[in-house]
Symmetry: C2
Subunit: 206 residues, 2 copies
């Protein structure tokens, strides 16, 4: 792509560094910003820079925070004795959006994956175990993606935590709402048969 303005070219190149944004999309975004008021664009740029420089990670659960402790950990209305263990911040946002969970989180910052060179030491596992020992935790809920790495991580943490005698659960796996039996893979279907639930539970959950 040939640009007649270095300012334009630099802006396009910056946008094109973002994941999933190619040169053509970057150009479209830049030309859109060019049509906006200067004040609006400078606000856009300030908000982004401020987000990166001022955002912190909660010292207790490693979620993003505006202070030392995130708004979930510092909220006395939430059950601090229940910890939901997730892989990353995106999972926190996904679970929060369901508005079905009233406990706290612990963000691991990844999952154990020897093939990718990620071991327990690179993750926030040690801090989770310390936290569980120190606080009066009642239940640990694993909300990890259902794959081998997720299962390995659950197994590893569960082994470490077993002596403490805390209730450890994982979110239900099964057939998604709106899914069709015919197109469900054998593993999911098989497991959902093994882990079948009483209909009264199912009905009361709706």
């Amino acid at each position: 792509m040939q640009f007649s303005s270095a300012l334009l070219e630099n802006a396009v190149n910056e946008f094109a560094k973002l994941p999933g944004i190619g040169k053509k999309t970057a150009l479209r975004l830049v030309l859109h910003l060019l049509k906006q008021d200067t004040a609006e664009v400078s606000n856009f740029s300030e908000v982004i820079a401020k987000m990166r420089s001022e955002i912190r990670f909660c010292q207790r659960c490693f979620n993003v925070a505006d202070a030392d402790i995130c708004s979930i950990c510092s909220n006395s209305m939430r059950k601090q004795e229940i910890i939901c263990v997730v892989e990353n911040i995106r999972d926190v946002i996904a679970i929060e959006s369901t508005q079905q969970f009233n406990g706290t989180y612990h963000v691991l910052g990844g999952i154990i994956s020897p093939l990718d060179g990620v071991g327990p030491d690179q993750l926030n596992i040690e801090s989770l175990i310390l936290r569980v020992q120190k606080e009066k935790t009642e239940e640990l809920i694993f909300a990890l993606n259902p794959n081998i790495q997720g299962d390995t991580t659950i197994y590893y943490i569960q082994k470490k935590i077993q002596p403490l005698g805390i209730r450890v659960t994982t979110i239900a796996r099964g057939i998604a709402f709106g899914g069709e039996l015919e197109y469900t893979d054998e593993l999911t279907l098989g497991r959902s048969l093994q882990n079948r639930m009483p209909v009264e539970n199912y009905v009361s959950n709706r």
Copy 2:
């Protein structure tokens, strides 16, 4: 979407204002930036703000410029007597990327479209006519999109410019390279038959 950080939420909302970027994509982009160095993100934000506040439009051709006159108009290696009339900046970039044109441009800033309330007065047409009268223009090449609005614009400008006796052309319409006759619409196929070209021209162009 529920965020536990206002800084994060504001950044996501700013990205989600961009065209074609929804909340989920915005979140992905923000989380990507969060992983980058602070210096890199502040550079990103500075380049964007600088682009908007410092970019100017060429006083001669209305292309984007870093100074009063754009780099194409101020380039003495380019044929200043040939003007390619285009709708917007994106078209300039598209034509420049072909590296087949060595003249200058005139960006109309839109096309005549009565249905959208765009008349000749909102476009850079008056300035084009003044420019053609003042400069020793030899040829005006219309590179507008092949639709009714484009044709109307060509017709309007051509009528105004006719008395000056300048050569006026339009880029060739026809079947695109790699296109198949079978799937070409009748209008394009019909016109391409009417405007057929000698094979020697075709061969020498390849």
